[in-house]
């Protein structure tokens, strides 16, 4: 009996080991060879064209998106706010966003850049460096992919260069001169990438673009499958954007915007005025415009329905004037989805348009509202205005959700005077549409449109030639024509024309991350310090409205202006790593 029990136990234990043994036990050192994970290595990626392309699509992911998406995503850069709230066109009432917490309150310091993700551009967390690295890894390895032709590889490499150039363009506009990364570094290398001068940075970006241009198709042929990839037109457009920024007075002037070590080392200005920079910008724009006209591949969206055309131009993927568009989602999800917080953030108040911005829109006839002949009626202020106004800003009485928008105090859009989303008396309409039609629609970020190149060309011509040329007028008016607005008055002075072009840019590209950089590159400090207004609309017993302007809450820099705000601060922890970063003036 006892032996039976013993045998039973031995067999039982033995059996369990046999069960497990095959998998879990092996003799000697082989036992340790089972790795704890299955890996994808660089070799396996660049062993096949399909895998290599995937790596490039991964790099595309790093491209910036202009609206807040979700926490921790690459675009929560303003803590769910938008860059427009820093400029004079919009005011944010989102009290926990970066705009209020850091900028309106004056709490922004260089130290904030160490860790806070709510600044307008995070040197550490924007994803730019990741994108640049991925681009380099791709460029350095794609030639060894066996099943890819040299032509394919060159084109893909050119796209990778464009990813790098685009990131550098954005950083150039936020910081000035930058350290230049020219390969995929290893961790143990000695980083010796000192900050370059602003001129060298611009030239390096342009050189990168120039290297990409010959290898790219002017436009995507297979639009059905590959719309959204970088093209030659995109490259030429980006080049014009960089050159225009570099030609502008922020950097291209006879004195730096502010003294400091970075200014001494010409990292934040070019060291003197050079009118040729304007010519370079004009030439770059002209080159693209000529090729557009020659090939017919791009054109302003113009079907004769100005409001609809304007909306299509900034909103729809693959429209004929998009040069660069970036993507983070396929469709906009439901209004309350955490996958696209932009919608919710507007409810919390990020999109309160200023009266100052509304005033910038001319009458339909092309005349400014300040022009006595314009026909502007202060008691009926939204009548007969530039059609773009209605597609950019929700104004009282505009068609909205199959009814009229009620932006008076007590109306459905502005329940009370403190309703965050409409606390200025207006509400952002661009991208948000009437809320209902925005959800579930296909979305993109219009990073660069052909219309901007037209205005860039006009602006640069005006500056280089000391006054507007007929061509300058022509391209501004092309943009105005599409918008259904009358032409610019003839005979403007250089200054008047410049002002008109900047105004045109503000109203054409509102909320498209253009206005902030225009203010900065022209050092228009009065746009920081001026009083910003909202509009209190009250409905009278007889159904008519009264309009009363009021001052929006003040921003720290209105009373404490310093030119240091033109550029962002570098995070001190990066400067302390000692590879040659020099802090921007004032920070």
């Amino acid at each position: 009996m006892k032996n039976t029990i013993i045998l039973f136990f031995i067999s039982l234990v033995g059996f369990l080991f046999v069960l497990q043994g095959c998998e879990d036990l092996s003799v000697g050192n082989d036992f340790l060879e089972k790795p704890p994970s299955v890996d994808v290595t660089q070799d396996s990626i660049f062993a096949k064209a399909e895998f290599a392309e995937r790596f490039l699509w991964g790099a595309y992911e790093s491209l910036p998106y202009g609206l807040p998406i979700t926490w921790g995503d690459r675009t929560d850069e303003m803590g769910m706010d938008i860059q427009a709230s820093l400029s004079d066109i919009n005011h944010s009432f989102l009290n926990w966003g970066g705009v209020n917490q850091l900028y309106y309150s004056g709490q922004y310091t260089s130290g904030v850049e160490n860790s806070n993700g709510k600044t307008k551009y995070s040197y550490n967390n924007s994803g730019a460096w990741d994108g640049i690295r991925d681009a380099h890894i791709f460029i350095e390895n794609v030639d060894r992919v066996p099943d890819m032709t040299a032509e394919q590889a060159s084109e893909l490499k050119a796209e990778a260069r464009m990813i790098k150039a685009l990131h550098y363009t954005d950083m150039f506009r936020h910081f000035g001169g930058l350290p230049w990364i020219d390969r995929a570094y290893t961790a143990n290398e000695d980083f010796n990438v000192p900050r370059m001068t602003s001129m060298a940075t611009m030239d390096s970006i342009v050189a990168t673009i120039d290297k990409a241009i010959p290898d790219l198709p002017f436009a995507i042929e297979d639009k059905l499958n590959w719309e959204g990839r970088f093209t030659q037109a995109a490259a030429m457009g980006l080049k014009a954007r960089v050159l225009l920024f570099g030609a502008s007075p922020l950097f291209n002037d006879n004195q730096p915007f502010m003294e400091g070590e970075a200014a001494d080392k010409m990292m934040v200005w070019h060291g003197g005025f050079d009118s040729n920079l304007w010519k370079r910008a004009a030439d770059a724009a002209k080159e693209l415009i000529d090729k557009v006209e020659q090939t017919g591949d791009y054109s302003l969206v113009n079907t004769g329905n100005p409001e609809q055309d304007f909306k299509t131009a900034y909103y729809d993927r693959g429209n004929s004037e998009l040069l660069i568009s970036t993507r983070a989602r396929y469709r906009a999800p439901g209004f309350w989805s955490g996958q696209f917080y932009f919608f919710q953030a507007t409810r919390y108040g990020i999109g309160a348009t200023t009266q100052n911005y509304v005033d910038m829109f001319p009458m339909m006839n092309g005349l400014s509202i300040t022009d006595p002949n314009s026909g502007y009626d202060p008691d009926n202020p939204y009548e007969n205005r530039d059609p773009r106004l209605y597609q950019t800003v929700l104004v009282n009485g505009a068609p909205y959700k199959n009814r009229q928008a009620e932006l008076w105090i007590g109306g459905r859009e502005r329940r009370n005077i403190n309703t965050n989303s409409t606390a200025s008396g207006y509400k952002l309409r661009k991208f948000i549409l009437d809320e209902n039609s925005a959800t579930q629609s296909v979305i993109q970020w219009p990073y660069l449109r052909l219309a901007e190149i037209y205005l860039t060309y006009a602006e640069a011509l005006n500056e280089f030639n000391d006054g507007p040329t007929p061509e300058a007028y022509l391209y501004v008016n092309k943009v105005r024509e599409r918008a259904g607005v009358g032409e610019l008055p003839q005979g403007l002075s250089k200054e008047e024309f410049r002002k008109a072009v900047l105004n045109e840019r503000a109203i054409e590209f509102g909320y498209e991350k253009v206005r902030w950089f225009d203010i900065v590159r022209w050092k228009m400090d009065q746009n920081f310090t001026k009083t910003l207004e909202g509009m209190n609309i009250r409905k009278q017993g007889d159904g008519s409205f009264t309009y009363e302007r009021f001052e929006l809450p003040s921003r720290y820099w209105q009373g404490n202006w310093s030119p240091k705000w033109y550029l962002s601060a570098f995070p001190p922890n990066e400067i302390n790593k000692g590879y040659g970063l020099v802090q921007n003036p004032g920070w």
Partner: protein, 1001 residues
Amino acid sequence: MNRIIYISQVCMLTLMGIYGSAMAQDSQIQGLVIDIDGNPVVGAKIHLVEDETIVSLSNRYGQFEIAGELGHHLKVENRGQVTEPIRISQNQMSVILPVQTNQISVGYGEYRSSNSLTGAVGFITGNDIPNNSVINPENTLYGKIPGLIALQNGGEPPTGATFNIRGVETFRNNQPLILVDGFERPLSSLSTDEIQNISVLKDAALLSMYGQRGANGVILVETKRGEADQLRVNASFETSITEPVGLPKFVQAPTYARAINEALLNDGLDPRYSNGDIDAFSNNSSPVLFPNVNWFDEVLRDQGTRQTFNISFDGGSSRARYYVLMNYSSDNGLFGPVNRNEDFSTQLKYGQFNFRSNLDIEVSESLALQINAAGNIVNRNTPSGGDGPNEIFNSLYRIPSAAFPVQTMDGSWGGSPLYGTNPVAMLTSTGYGSPNERELFLDSRLIKNLDNVTKGLSAELALSYNNFASYFEQQSKQYSYESVIPVRDQSGTVVDVERTVFGEDTELGFWSSFGNQRRSTDILGKIRYETLLENSELTAVALFHQSGMTLDGQNNTFRRNNFAGSLLYGYDQTYYVNVAVSYNGNNILPSNDRYGLFPAVSASWLISNEDFMADNSLFDLLKLRASWGVTGNDLIPNGNLHLQNYSGSSGYFFTDNNTFSGGTSESRLATADFTYETSYTTNLGVDIGLLENLFFTADLFYAKRKNILTNSGGRISNVLGVTAPLESNGVVENRGVEFDLEWRDTVSRDFAYYIGGQMTFTRNKILEMNEAFQPYDYLKETGRSVGQRFGLEAIGFFADQEDITSSPDQRFSQVRPGDIKYRDQNGDGIINEFDVVPVGYSSQYPELYFSASVGFNYKGIGVESLFQGTGNYTAYLNTPSVYWPLRNNNTLSEYYYENRWTSEGSADAIFPRLTTLNNENNNRPNDIWLVDRSYIKLRTLEVSYTLPVSFVQSLSMQRIKIYGRGMNLFSIDNIEIMDPEHLGTGYPTLRSYHLGLNIVF
């Protein structure tokens, strides 16, 4: 500690001449084997020299009988020690073995007598454990073993303790290795009754055998085994009540309303409650509109209950022995209204059934087999809402008494969309969950005596298989609640109510899922050689151990190979030298560099055994120990850190249709020098026995841990464009001292007592952690202890606006009078993140850990107590409502309210002004919230009565013991209103009272 009581019992038995009735035959020689401490030696083999076929075993009292005649000789063999032949001079004789039978387990199946021990080992026997009434045996180890720092976590069964051995030596994983019967298994899966003894290996002398797993220390647990004798049954029953410790009191509704108004006034906002409202809260005139709910009272009962049944059987013959245990513990939690549903209870219930069957079989003269099977089944019942108990407690800590009523006028649950939950409804109306767990441990060990090859040679093969699986079932539903808000006219008078229903009532819905699973398999082969020469002894061991563990999910397979050996040489029972080495590797490390060599050398000198000490009557024992060695720690992140990995990313959307192009991206850069942590440890120890009553052990130790993985992101620029790699360059040094002092005395047959104390003090220092550049030295973590807290230095509260204006600019949030005023450490006129300084100590572990115990036994009446405390330990008080009140609509503790800053005279205020805002200025680490976390707790107090042996014998029993016991009876600490070991909002820690009966027959 309990040892002496056991001794006194044995002595009583012996003196009373109660030799077992089985020993009645006249032709037999009867004897007793005891060790030098007087402990009976169980299971010693007694040989008749004249006839080797005649063998006997000693029973649990050390007694034996053997067929022999006067003039013959006996040899006694115990765990490899054999005595010289002893002449039988009378029919009854006693043999004293020159050892302590507390053969101390030192790992890999090896035992050392305390004489031959050359390393630092802490040891307790199972006798020390039963005076703890806990479900999870981890909770028995507070203050029990010097060097073992055990910190309590919470009260919800089966929450266990956090261990570290001799403090902290790495800023990564400090977890010691816990082995049960030689294999890696959680201590928490045992019941306390099945534990025979626990050893803690603390220095490299023995830990180097564990190689890459040794550096954090090893806790060895052995379970009980059968002893050759007739059947013995040990049955016990215990019933207990538990009550929560450290639940803070929150203010009642009128005070809450006044506090809110004060806070709003402080913030420059309009008050929320009128005087009329406050009156209504006070006189309870309208309990729905103006409720005053004590949520803790509504949800909790005063006491929970617990029962434990334990029964074990052991016995056997000289050829086969068994130990079988069954243990069932059940705990009924602290929730009050749990029976509102007819079909089920929503009480927090925990039931654990443990079983164990340990068999020892002598298959043949030279072949022994052990088969152990054990396991447990855990069934629980919880309220189902969210994370069950903890979520309910989070709400209890959050919702003000004035927020809403438990139920509204028509019996709906009260509530508010502001809070979203009603704690009573969470408990009673969300259904229930039943998490279930199963654990199975099997192992077998075959020991072959190879005396026929070479005398003293033996071989051993052991296998183990362990499996854990959990399964979660839930029957959950949702509830609706009604918000009732007063509607007021212009003057503020309530004219109507606005009633809104939120959520919906649903039926019970079933949901289930598999939880964690893990399995592990071990194989161990060992060859052992032992020889006793004239004046010296030699033990040599060589072994191979292979272990594999698979956890949930992918990338979680851990595999390890260990080749180890040790050589112990002892001379004259006075000089011992031990050399140990292991060569081992694991599958996490790069294949060309996964093995490491871990040598250690140690020695001891028993001065008291020297000839020149022969005449001394003072020292019973005087021993010096020294060790140096290398150990490793492979608790490093797995996932092939040394390989550059790429993974899928979210991809990109080209075209305007839904064509998605999947992306790939680079993961964190590979660690170039990826390896295990290596610790170099030196230990010096002294063991002293004085006057037969005093025992003293002290150790000094120093360890330097290298190759700790650090984050290089602080040094490498972000322009790298990818997460910077981890680097194996961290260095931490740790030094300390520990001692154990005990006085014990058996004064007479009737009276014995003991008093003892233990202390461990460690201090570590980070020598290298790849820290990012810090502009000021005081901001540096390097050079300080692991987990050192940093905070701003508070220098009072702002008295008024003028005070604010004339002080440095505090940049965290807008500052008002009553906010905390900070010292400008760097003198730049700005208070910001550069003004934090080290405050207090670490909040992860105490530098000082100590305990004291005292007890006596008088005529069967026993009293035992254990106090345990900590020092140099810092707490961060950020418990919502208790310390950071009102923000996020939370409630307010009475303690805060009484000690807050107010605008009129607040010289003795401890806390800043009330505010309803987040107040980043006040609510951040500073020395108001970073406080001393030291405590002294009475962990155990037991009063027992063991019935007189004569009476028990008359009932044919061996022992009857009745006891009353209290656990965690009180705590002396700084924090006062909460348990310093439990400052969160979860299920509280428990104080408990137990009544038990233990019968052995």
